[in-house]
Structure formats: structure tokens, C-alpha cells
């Protein structure tokens, strides 16, 4: 809704620049505004592709953190979830999130189609190409949020749970939160102040992490995670290179996630957002690396990756509202948070990839960081600047604390709503088809037990030795090496008798 108004406003602004009274001016101004709007949509399209690429990031991250017997299921999960959430968002979710309506949910835009009327009153519009682009971009965010949910459930959840929860998540849970903050709902006007969540530290990341918490509470830890005394044991993932690949893909995708949330190209503001994103991610890696080194005297590879993700999640909400100097601070703090949180949570809950810490706690931090660091230059109309500018600047501290309170309210609202619906959904799944595979299937691995095939077959199926018959010709560096002389061969086989005897 807001995005559309923004684009229309931009068009009007461009039109007003052109002098009136010149005969050809009006059509020219229209053309310029139209092209500007189309240019905006091209940027959103590029950003949208980057955000969809993040699915590959989640896939590699989770597979790398899993054991070899649970890798194929990670691929299947990403594909099936992306497919289901797409249909759910198109049929219902988009309407609930963006379809005008009341403060709680939208009521138009279901089964999204061309020329459909969405919204009501003065805000109503007919669906055209640009709206389709924005609808698709919204779906990419919903899919990211859903992908976060499963980080805590690896290596033991029943595949059916993915399917059922994905429908509920894509149609109801994520759309309700998105509507509250971005669709003109409850959180877009709290006592005159809107929640400032630029690209979704709470809307996308905290939402996903709270779903992950609900699933984990009903699912329990993997077999062997805790010893008889309840002490946690490491279950190392099978591939740090895959984890690294996942982190880098997510990092790159985040430029579309945050940068694209400008929805426009005017003044190339997306450049500011992207630089903030990079600064925070870098600081996240540094923060997590320092923290884990202080804690364990080793530079943990997985934690460095978690630090990058935490920095990125932390800057997601503030990326469009803070100055460059604040971004590294936000990222650094997020990096520290993720390490200490992973270590603390591990004592109680089995979260194989650290989703609760990297997306949940860093998401809360990011949402609150807006209330601390938001620059008066960049805040949205009606909102208060960060308390930093109240303490060290001339801004009113009262307004600033008011905004911080509003940000806190967004965190609380997101947590309560998402947790309530998610725990109910997972409880229902547990009571009907079951949430967890039997112990023997968990031991054998989900690849063979749920999917009937191994993700890495050669690790499990013996391979015959390759033989060309006699005599063997050795190859080194592509150049054939002469076979050993016959005399030597017989010397190693004394029983054959022969030439050298």
C-alpha cells in the first residue's frame, strides 16, 4: 500500500518540476514519471531475484550444519516449502498482508489477478504490472521468513510438518505480521508513531525465529545431543565449506533484501542502505570472531558465519534509518549477541544452526537499535529519532524514548502473535500426523528413511574397485608411466615361479 503511494507521489513530484503552459510539457512529464516508476520496478526486480537466491543460502547453510545422512532432505525441504508458500501467498497471504482492510488483516487481493481491485476507498487500486512486481517481492520475504523456521528442527522432524506449517505460515502467520507493520495495521500507528522496521528485523527474522522456537519446544533435542547428566554435546555438521557458501549467498542476497526495500531508485538511496548492510555484516563477523575467541581461544568457523548472519539481521530494520557510523556498532553488538546466545541456548535447547540466536535475538536487537540510532535525517514521518540523538544531540529525549518503546512493542507483538499461532499449529501436527520421526529413522538418517535415498550415496553404498585388467598402466599428471618391468612383477609373486627364479 505505502509502496504504491510512494511511487505515485514520486510521479507527481517529477510532474510538478516541469513548467506548466508549454504545450508538450504535460505528456513529457507523464512519460518521465512513467519511466521513473518503471525504473523503480526494475530495481525491485533485481532485488527480488537476490532475495530468492537466499533460498540457496539457507539450503547450503543448513545442509552444511547437518550430518551426511540428512542432506538430501534439506534440498527437498527448501524446494517444497518455496513451492507451497508461493501458492499460499498468491491465494491468501498477499491479501491478508497488503489488501487494505482493517488494523488486523487485509480483506482484498485474494487469488491475486490482473485488474483486480485491491483495498477500498481512496487507497484502492487496480492491479497492474508494478503491483505484480511488489507482490512477488513480498513473497520472496515470506519465503525467507519460513526458511528460518526450520533451522532448529533439522535431522529429526517429519517431512509432513513442513507441508502443513508452510500453508499456515504463508497464508496467515507472516501476512498478519507484515500487515501490522507494513500494510497499515496495528503497528503502523501507535499513538501517532509508526514502528520503523525498514526491511524486517522483526517482521521477517524474528517471525521466523519465533516459529522455530515453537517447533523446537514441541520437538525436543536430537538423540545424543545431551548426555545422561543433561550436558550438551556437539553434533558437528558435515561440511564447513557448504556453511561458508550458504553464508556468502545469504550475505549477497541481503543487498536485495535491504537495498530493494527502498522500492525506488530516487536519489539512489538504495546505495546508502546497501553500504549500511555491508558495514554491519562485516562488523558481525568481527564481533562474533572476537567473542568466540575470548570464550574458547579458537576461531570457530561456524560462529564466524553466524556472526555475519547476525550482523545482517541486526541491520535489516535500521538499514534505511541510520548513518554509516552506526551500522558497524549495530553489527558488532549483533556478533557478540549471537555467540553468547548460541552458547547459552545450547545448554537447554538443541538448535543445530543457531537460528534462535542469529535471527531471533539479533532480530530483536535490530528492531530496538532503530530506537537507539535512527537519524533525524532519515526517519519516517511521525516517528521519533533514536535516543542517541536525544542524549548527544538536540532531539527531544521523550520522543526518542517513545519511539524505542514503540520498537519494543513491535517485538512483543510479533513474539506473542507468531508464538501463539505457531505452537497451536505444531501441537495440532503433533497430535495428528506426529511431529518427529521414530528413533530408528532418526538414527538411520532422514535421507533414507523419509526420502528412500541417500544424499551422498557413495558414502553408504559400496563401490566396486575399478579394474582394466592386466597389465596396469599408471598415469601421473596425464602422462602415461610405463608399467613395471615384468621381472619386478614376478618378483612380488614368488608362488608363480618363473623368470627371475
Amino acid at each position: 500500500m505505502k509502496k504504491r503511494l510512494l511511487i505515485a507521489g514520486l510521479g507527481a513530484a517529477v510532474a510538478s518540476l516541469v513548467l506548466p503552459g508549454v504545450a508538450s510539457a504535460a505528456p513529457l512529464a507523464d512519460t518521465v514519471a512513467e519511466k521513473a516508476s518503471e525504473l523503480d520496478m526494475v530495481w525491485v526486480a533485481v532485488a527480488c531475484v537476490l532475495v530468492f537466491l537466499m533460498q540457496a543460502g539457507f539450503m547450503f547453510l543448513e545442509i552444511g550444519f547437518s550430518r551426511q545422512k540428512n542432506v538430501g532432505t534439506g534440498v527437498a525441504k527448501i524446494l517444497i516449502n518455496l513451492a507451497i508458500v508461493t501458492i499460499a501467498w498468491w491465494a491468501i497471504g498477499y491479501g491478508v498482508a497488503e489488501g487494505g482492510g482493517n488494523k488486523i488483516f487485509g480483506d482484498t487481493g485474494f487469488f491475486f489477478h490482473f485488474n483486480q481491485t485491491i483495498g477500498s476507498g481512496s487507497e484502492a487500486f487496480q492491479v497492474a504490472g508494478g503491483d505484480s512486481m511488489l507482490m512477488l517481492y513480498g513473497l520472496a520475504f515470506c519465503a525467507v521468513s519460513l526458511a528460518i523456521v526450520w533451522g532448529t528442527t533439522l535431522e529429526r522432524i517429519k517431512f509432513g510438518a513442513y507441508v502443513i506449517y508452510a500453508i499456515v505460515f504463508g497464508a496467515v502467520i507472516y501476512p498478519l505480521i507484515a500487515h501490522a507493520v507494513w500494510g497499515g495495521g496495528l503497528l503502523s500507528d501507535i499513538g501517532g508513531k509508526p514502528v520503523m522496521d525498514f526491511a524486517g528485523s522483526s517482521v521477517v527474522h524474528l517471525t521466523g525465529a519465533v516459529g522455530a522456537l515453537a517447533a523446537l519446544l514441541l520437538l525436543g533435542p536430537r538423540i545424543g545431543k545431551y548426555d545422561a547428566d543433561g550436558k550438551p554435546r556437539a553434533i558437528p555438521g558435515h561440511s564447513m565449506p557448504l556453511v561458508g557458501l550458504g553464508v556468502i549467498i545469504l550475505w549477497i542476497g541481503w543487498f536485495g533484501f535491504n537495498g530493494g526495500s527502498t522500492f525506488e531508485t530516487s536519489a539512489s538511496f538504495f546505495g546508502e542502505v546497501m553500504l549500511n548492510t555491508q558495514l554491519a555484516a562485516a562488523a558481525g563477523v568481527i564481533g562474533a570472531s572476537i567473542a568466540v575467541y575470548m570464550k574458547s581461544r579458537t576461531l570457530d568457523v561456524g560462529m564466524a558465519g553466524n556472526g555475519a548472519i547476525a550482523g545482517l539481521v541486526g541491520i535489516t530494520a535500521p538499514s534505511g534509518f541510520v548513518e554509516y557510523w552506526a551500522a558497524p556498532i549495530i553489527g558488532l553488538v549483533a556478533g557478540f549477541i549471537v555467540v553468547y546466545a548460541v552458547l547459552a541456548i545450547d545448554r537447554l535447547l538443541d538448535d543445530p544452526v543457531g537460528a534462535l540466536s542469529a535471527h531471533g535475538l539479533a532480530g530483536i536487537w535490530g528492531t530496538l537499535a532503530v530506537g537507539i540510532f535512527a537519524s533525524p535525517r532519515l526517519i519516517v514521518e511521525g516517528a521519533g529519532p533514536g535516543i542517541w540523538y536525544g542524549i548527544f544531540g538536540d532531539e527531544s529525549l521523550g520522543t526518542a524514548f517513545g519511539q524505542l518503546g514503540v520498537q519494543g512493542l513491535a517485538v512483543a507483538f510479533t513474539f506473542v502473535v507468531v508464538f501463539a499461532i505457531s505452537i497451536a499449529t505444531f501441537a495440532l501436527i503433533k497430535a495428528t500426523i506426529g511431529l518427529r520421526v521414530p528413533a530408528e529413522e532418526e538414527d538411520a538418517g532422514l535421507d533414507i528413511s523419509s526420502h528412500g535415498m541417500y544424499g551422498y550415496p557413495e558414502q553408504f553404498i559400496p563401490q566396486p574397485e575399478y579394474s582394466t585388467g592386466l597389465p596396469t598402466t599408471l598415469h601421473r599428471g596425464g602422462v602415461p608411466v610405463a608399467a613395471p618391468a615384468p621381472a619386478q612383477m614376478t618378483a612380488t609373486e614368488p608362488t608363480s615361479g618363473g623368470l627371475s627364479a
Binding site: 538414527d443 528412500g452 535415498m453 541417500y454 550415496p457 553404498i461 559400496p462
Partner: protein, 122 residues
């Protein structure tokens, strides 16, 4: 001296190792083995076709002990490796002719003993 070779399920290894360590048998080896017994093979489905793998992954546990410790080790393995289902594996006990510690060259049963605390580098 006896060598005890046990083919066991993967998940049985950790409790066996813990108890053997507890009872003073820290020296053991495991080998990732694939084999078949009465347990059926695994049917793998790949892009619509099936493939039967007639061997299953097991662990082969090897421990060499003095004759008097034979029963203790065998009982420990039985205790943790038995689920009652087909596929629990088998234990073989073999006589061992000689044991030599490579570092010192010493031989005989003494190489099977636990090290004195002072001997173990930290």
C-alpha cells in the same frame, strides 16, 4: 591374549566406549564396516528406479585384552549393543599371538595395560 571383534550398530558404540573406559580399557579401534547378516538390505529409490543395497553400515569394534578380561569386555558389548531386533550384530573372539608397543619395542601383556598417569603427555 584375546582379540575381540564386534560388529555393532553405530549408536551402540558411544555407551560401550564410555563403559570400557570406565572399567580401564581405553585402547580400542573402530572401523566403518559394511556388511550383511540376516538383516535385509536397504532399498534405495533414485529418480523412479530402485536399487537394493545388500549390505548395511555397521561399526567394527576391535579390542585386544588379557584372557582374564575377555568376559568383562564381551558382557559390556552385549549389554549395550543388544536391542533384541535383527541387526544387532555379532562378536568374535580370536586368540592373539603377540603384542608389541611400537614406541618402546616392549612386548607381551604389559602393552595392554593402562599407562601410569605420569607417562601420559598432557
Amino acid at each position: 591374549m584375546k582379540k575381540i571383534e564386534a560388529f555393532i550398530r553405530h549408536e551402540a558404540f558411544e555407551p560401550i566406549r564410555a563403559e570400557l573406559l570406565d572399567k580401564g580399557f581405553p585402547s580400542l579401534s573402530i572401523i566403518e564396516a559394511k556388511g550383511s547378516g540376516r538383516q535385509k538390505g536397504i532399498v534405495e529409490r533414485y529418480r523412479g528406479s530402485t536399487l537394493t543395497v545388500n549390505v548395511r553400515p555397521k561399526l567394527k569394534l576391535e579390542v585386544v585384552v588379557e584372557d582374564k578380561d575377555r568376559d568383562l569386555v564381551v558382557e559390556t558389548i552385549l549389554k549395550h549393543a543388544r536391542t533384541g531386533e535383527v541387526g544387532d550384530g555379532k562378536i568374535f573372539v580370536l586368540p592373539v599371538e603377540e603384542a608389541i608397543r611400537i614406541r618402546t619395542g616392549e612386548d607381551g601383556q604389559s602393552v595392554l595395560q593402562l599407562h601410569e598417569e605420569s607417562e601420559i603427555p598432557t
